[in-house]
Every structure is written in C-alpha cells, then in structure tokens.
Amino acid sequence: MTVRFTMAGLQALAMMGTMAGAAMALPAQAQTGQTSAQGDLSVTIYNDDLALVQDVRQLNISSGVSRIEFPDVSAQIRPETLSFSAPGAAIVEQNFDYDLLSPDTLMEKAVGQVVTIVRTNPGSGAETREQAKVLAVNGGVVLQIGNRIEVLRDDGLPVRVIFDKVPPNLRARPTLSVRVDSDRAGTRPASIRYLTPGLGWSADYVALFDARAGKVDVQGWVTLTNTSGTTYTNANTLLVAGSVNQRQATPYVRRPAPGMAVSPLRNPGTETAGREQLGDFYLYPIANRTTIASNQTKQVSFLDVQGVPASAGYEYVNGWLSTGTEAQSADSVVRFSTSARGGLGDALPAGTVRFYQKDASGAPQFTGENRLGHTPMGSQLALATGKAFDVKVQPVVEQRQKLGDSKWRTTMRYELTNARPDAVTVDLVQQGLDFAWSDTRIASESLKSERRNADAVVWHVPVPANGRASVTATFETRY
C-alpha cells in the first residue's frame, strides 16, 4: 500500500518558510536541477593552487540597508579576500556563515521548544503522536512529554521527531553575504572578487624525439584542475605563469645538494617571448570562454612546434669522491633550446615534459619524463629522460693519502663502459668539490676537465662503440 501526500500542501509550506525569513542558501527549485547564480565570470589562475575569481552579477538591490547572499561562489573561498562593489551601494559588513544545517544542529537549536514525536508500535504498527519539549541535548536528547521526563529513543524503539521549521542561520552550505546600504532601488551590475584555492594549472609537454634525425617535436598543453567544489560556467579564463608569494620566506638561492641531478636549465635565456606579460608573469589567455566543471581536468593547447634541433647525450654525476660498488647507469639527456633561432621560440611555463621515441614499427613509445621550471625564451635545456641501459660509469677511489692536518690527496679513477653499437660522449661530473666551503685543486688528470662551478668539474669523455674508457684525476682537498 502506497500513500502519497499531495505536493500542493508541501509547496505552500515551503513558501511560508521562505516568507517567514527562514534564510535558506538556495531556494527550492524545479525538478530539473539548479541553474547557477553566477554572472559574468573571469577566472585568473596561478600556478600555485590559487585563483582570482571575478563575478559580475545583475542584482536587484533595494533602497536602504539590505542583505545580499552570494550562492555559487567557490566552496573553498578565502572569505577574507572578498571584495564587493555595486554602483550606489556602500558596504556595511561582510559575513561568512558556516553554521550548517544537520540533524545535530537542528536538535540543538530546538532546546526549549516543542517538537512532535511519532511513535510506531513495533507489534501493531500503530502510530501515536505526542508533543514534546526538548529540555537538553548533551550526549543524548532529554524530552519533557506532559509531566514525564524521557530520553529520546532510550528503549531503542522507533520514534520520529518532527520539527516545525528550520531555525534561521542554519544553512545547507557555507554562505557568503554582504549587508549594504543603497541610495536607490533597482537592478544593477554588482561585482564580487575573491581568491580561492582548489584551482590550479601546470603545463604538460609531449616531446617526440627523433635521435637519428636530431629533431624533437614539442606540443604544449596547459592543464587546468578544479577541485574547488564549484563549477565556473562560461568563464573568461586567464592563466598566469609564475608564482605569487604565498606566505613563504624569501627563498635564498641554493646550490644543488651533492649527488643531485643538475637542473635541466643550463643557460637561462635572455629573449622575450611574444606573449602578453604582466610584470614578470607571462599570461596565457584561453581563446574562448570556457566552463571549468567541478572535478574536471581540462587541457588546452598552447604550443605546437615541429622539427626543433635536439641532441641526445649522457651525463653521470658522482656526488662525492667515493667508490661505487658497481657500475651505475649514466643519465640519458636530451638537449634543445627555447630560443627563437634554432629552438622552440617561446617561454615555457613550468610543467612536465614527457618524451616519446618511435620503436622499430614506427609507434611512439614513452621513454621518460622530467620536470621543467618556468623557462625564459632563449634558454638551453638538458633534460634527463632516464638511465641508459648500456652506458655505465663506475667511480673508484684509487688512492687516498693524508698529507697534513687538513690536506688530503685522492686519486679517482672512472671506468666508463658503452654496450651500444655507436660511440657516445659522456659528460662525467664530479661534484662535492667545495665540500664545507673549502678549496679543492686538481693536481693531475688524464683528460682536460672543465670547471663547471666551485663545486663541480666536468669531463667530456668519448667512449667508443662497444668499448670502454677510463679517466683518472688526482684531487687535493682539505678533507
């Protein structure tokens, strides 16, 4: 048996509730779902999980002091960053209320009030109705029914509790509101602006590398992620490359820790890309208005360059004057430029570069990925894609002698092997030379080295096809 109550009575009740000023965040709507209250949206997204949202809504503001609610703002809004402006309206106060409606808060707000309880007899199914006064809600609910005092559902039997209304100030969702003093009544554009986390972007690059031809094709995509819990409908979207300081101490320039791979940026560029700039930031506007749906990852193309000259190389970094127990694979490195001449010809926003190479059947296969920081145009890049299976290096401490209290002599030997059918050149890097900020001298070496910086030297070691090579060097150090 199915009993249906009519909807007419329910709607009348809902309307009464609204008229009584039960401030609901969202009004009851038709069955087909909700339309967004958002207006003309502009979203500016920064790299570090931060976005500036500007929303111009057509609002009917009455004369005098009134309260305006803003539904459909970011669920993660930083309410303190809200700014509101509408012609002829002055702000009295801004509020962000997050006392949310739940059975718990509903019951707590009902203390001292009368509710209806409906008991269902588990044996007969008969219902009995009673009026009860909520005395206290501390751990459990204590009720006064007539002149009896009872604990709600103490016996575990079914009891429905019916409340007359939703108390004011309890909302379904956190609600942003402003109280304004308007000098006139009427509809006008009102703009709100706020910051929100949960929106971010980064770049993803697809690099198809052809080692034989010495070329790389690069596609760049900006990847937008929206975890802010809100959909931004038909928004004018602008991406800002660069980071705004989010409560970080001033970063001081650090040298790479010993043994760490060297930065892929080898020679920062000095060219300016032909893109819009704002201060130090490059701006990447998205051509058309776009809807950034909740929980969506959206990618938009921004770069497509074919046939950029690129070369493959090898690099091995020994972090300290130490012996490797066995030969270690050298890094495979792909080098190319972002210059307008012979390069990608663009400034690259930070992101992940994924390399692909074609296999024997011509299908592209993934060969490794690396992260890229914000890279100015005209830079030289050397991105390590992975470890080479066939090119290995074993560093060996041949001899280590104490010459004085703070004078040591260390003879290093580096054994390089190449199992590939073609000759390769390995950039062999010895790091850790300014250990504890003391000086280091190379007394002798079997191949001319190049001093990269105070901390590292590099040898460009040719290794024949299916062959080996060896480099020896003697260092004089303070330790």
Binding site: G17, A28, T105, T323, D359, G386, R400
Partner: protein, 528 residues
Amino acid sequence: MKSRFRHAPLLLALTLLSAAGMARAQLPGAAALPGPVTVVSPAPLSSSVTVYRDMAREEGRFTLRWLRGYALISEKRRVSLPAGDAVVRFEGVADGMIAVSAVVTGLPGAVDEKNRDARLLSPASLLDGSLGNRVHLRRTNPATGAVTETDAIVRSGPDNAVVLETPQGIEALRCSGLPETLVYDSVPEGLSAKPTFSVHTRSERATEAEVTLTYLATGFDWGASYVATIAEDGRTLDLFAWLTVANGNGASFEGAQLLAVAGQPNRSSDFDALVARAPSPQLNLSCWPMDSTGTQPSSADGMPPPPPPPAPMAVMAEIQLTARRSDKAMYAAVATQEDLGDLKLYRVPVPVDVLPDGQKQVAMIQREKVPFTAFYAGTLDPVQDEDGSVPLARMLRMDNRDREGLGLPLPSGSVAVMRRRGDGELLLADSTMKDRAIGEKVEIAAGISGQLRLTRTALALSDKERRFRLVLANATKERAAAEIAIPRLDGFDLKAPAGVKNKDGGKVWLASVPANGTASLDLTYRRQ
C-alpha cells in the same frame, strides 16, 4: 518542434535565392546548429600495451595486489565526425588513465581542448545534486509492512547528514529507527558512472576518421622471471626467462600488441595524484546525539567491517614458473628485443589478450650451456673491535658476452636457481637480477652457506695500527673459491700479502680453500 519553426524562414529564403546557391544550401543550415555535437567512441578497434616496471620496487617479483608500474596504451578507434565542432568522448579507457598524458592523433582538425570529468554518480552526489529539490521519502512500517511515500525537499548537504522538509514538518533522515530511504525522480545532470575523457575538435566536413588515443595508465608491472638450471657437472647452466606482465586495471585489452620496456625511464610526476579519482563526497548519515540512560553512544550507522586482507596471489606464478619442464622445452612465441633510445624494448610477436587482474608470461630469453663460476663472498669489517665469525654468501658469476654463451641485455627480475638432480630438479636459490648490459659481469647471489665461514681475529688494535688474522674454514668435500672484500679505511694504509688483489674498484682477497680445510691471511691497516 521549436527548431523547425526557427529554420522555416531560413529555408524559405534559401529557396528564393534560386538554383545557383542550391548546392551550398545545406552548409549554412548545418553550421547554424548550436554547440558542438558529441560523438561517442565506445571501444577501441585494436590496442597496444607497453608495460614499464615499477622503479621503486626491488628487483625480483612483484605483488599482484600492489602493481605500481605503469603502461603506455595506444588505442586505434574509428569515429564519424560531423562538419563543424565536435566533442569526441572516449569510452572504455583504462581506469588508471593519466589524463594529462593523453595524446590524440589522426583527427582531421586540431584538438583544442581535452577534458576529463570525474563527477561521479554516487549516493552522496545524488543527494548533493538534489539539494533544494523535491524527492520522495519512503518509509516501511516494520510491523505491518505498509509502505508510505511522502514528498520531501532536501534542505541540507550530504556533509551534515540529511534534513528534509515534509508536509508534516522538518525531519532528519534515518534518525527515527524506522526503515526509511530517499527515492529520486532523476539523476542530476553532469554525473557519470566512470571518469570520462573527451576532446574538442573541429572538422571541415563530415568524415570517418581513424584516430589513435595514446595515454599512460597505472596498475601494471612487469619483470623478467629467470630460471637458471645448473647442469649435473656443475660447470654450465641453462638460462631461461619469462616475460611476466601483470594488469591490475579493470580494463581488458583483447588481441593486443604487448610490449615491455627494460631500463629506467625517469618518472617525475606523481602518477597516483594524477590518476586519483575525484573523492566522491562521503554520504554521512549522522544523527543527533543518541546516548541512552545506561550505555555509551551507540553508533546508529556503523561503518561496514573492513574488507578481508587480500589472499596471497603470487603462488600461481611460482607454480607455473617452477613446474616448467626444463629439458628442451619449445616455445611458439619468444619475445623479440630491440633498442628504444637508451632503453630496451621487448615485443611479444603474437597478439595476446591482456585481461583485467591477470598475469601473463611469454618466453623472452633462452640460452643453453652458459659457463659460470661459483664462489663464496664475504667482507672484512675493519671498524668493529669485537671479533666474530660470519657465514659466506654463495655466488654465481657469468660473463655477459657472446663467447661466454650470453651477450644480450638482461633486464632485471627474479631468478630461481635450480640444480638437476637425477630425474628432477632442486631449488638452490631464490634470487634477483639487476639490469645487465652486454659485456658486464653478472653475479647472482644464491643464498648464505653455513659450510664456509670467515673468522676475524684482531691481533693488534692500537691507535697506530689495526692488525687482523682472517681464517676461512671449509666444511665441504670440495675445494672452494672465496672472495673477501677488504674495504679501505680512511686515514690508513693497507699492508697486505700478495693474495690481496685489486678488483672492481677495491681490494679483494682471492682465496682457494681446500676441501675440509682452512686458509688464512694476516693484514695490517697502518695510520698515515
């Protein structure tokens, strides 16, 4: 109905424009259609799966319930595109898809936009999407079984349990102790069963296109599973390897081209974070406090018990691996190897079915009569003051060269060392192999032997010098070769007799210990 009305004057106008423009009459009509057309590609025509191993795990075998490698999946699909803007929706992609890595080629126009939507249909999103809408509250009387259905409006979001407005007043869902539930009329817009991937493209004219969708996906792994069978003479071994691939994804790739990549491609992004399904909001049905007079709060809606721990699954693989008949087995399909940049690519020559939650093995390496040397390895500890005796590790050494019966890239994996014994075989060691290039020596640790021990006796432990006597004791009936590493001690010079040689970048005592006998050596570290 509405659209016919709107187009009627346009068509009329075009007819009036007479014969000359007749052929083009279709075009403006088509272009006037609002918004992009959605084209669904339900399944791939063919696919190729290239599996990459998990770099973070140790060599050796992987756990089928914890597959942390990944795969590059390349799918050929056919789509019919209309003229103008279109959204192509790809269905049936792997659940571990890393959407940001996806590349679509073969479309006539450029891809402007790629989207992955993860607003999933769940009890919580159903409720969330119905906030402020009319739903039905269905109650069943526990005694009579009578079902009552009441219209209700959802007043609270799913984070704070459910408050409903009914014709009788305000009530909370599932607080009364009566069986009650919500019934919805429809699914809110924009919710889908699975994360979907779509691209936005444009075509000059309606056409059929064969497109390739390439993406990375997590939930795969592979390794080589070696079986080294030592011949009865103890001088050579037969080396066999399976290419063992596992797919922990829900997706199935039938008749797929299967490949595997050996080596160490870099991985810089957090694949898990890129895959992570959007957290579908938890439906949280809590109530007001329900303490009773005598008891502590009873949790009205207890969490379901945690699922039982996964059953060990690796057993299957081992049975398959060790049950192989070692003598002259024939394999119809042996994976071929080619170079891929600085990596090694293995290709299974026949199409195979890569099924969800399945492991597959194909022969990849088969070499016979590979000469090897067996020795025992240990290390001197010159730092500790206390003396001691340690057992030695049994080692097998091969030279990865053509003339030594090998001379091929050996990808990392597990090694089962077997010894022929009459009719059967005996497992000697369960070991691992690292990536070995051609020309490298290959050492396989084959367990610890209690039969050979290294005993260190300190003869002098002063500030100036540390003098030790090393004694190797052999309890076996055969002469044993041993290699004892003598580490460098910073600030000391090593004075050692002729038995200590330079090897692999360090000093090694190369000893030959007679059967049921001992060998000894004295050495001194003297301060510089």
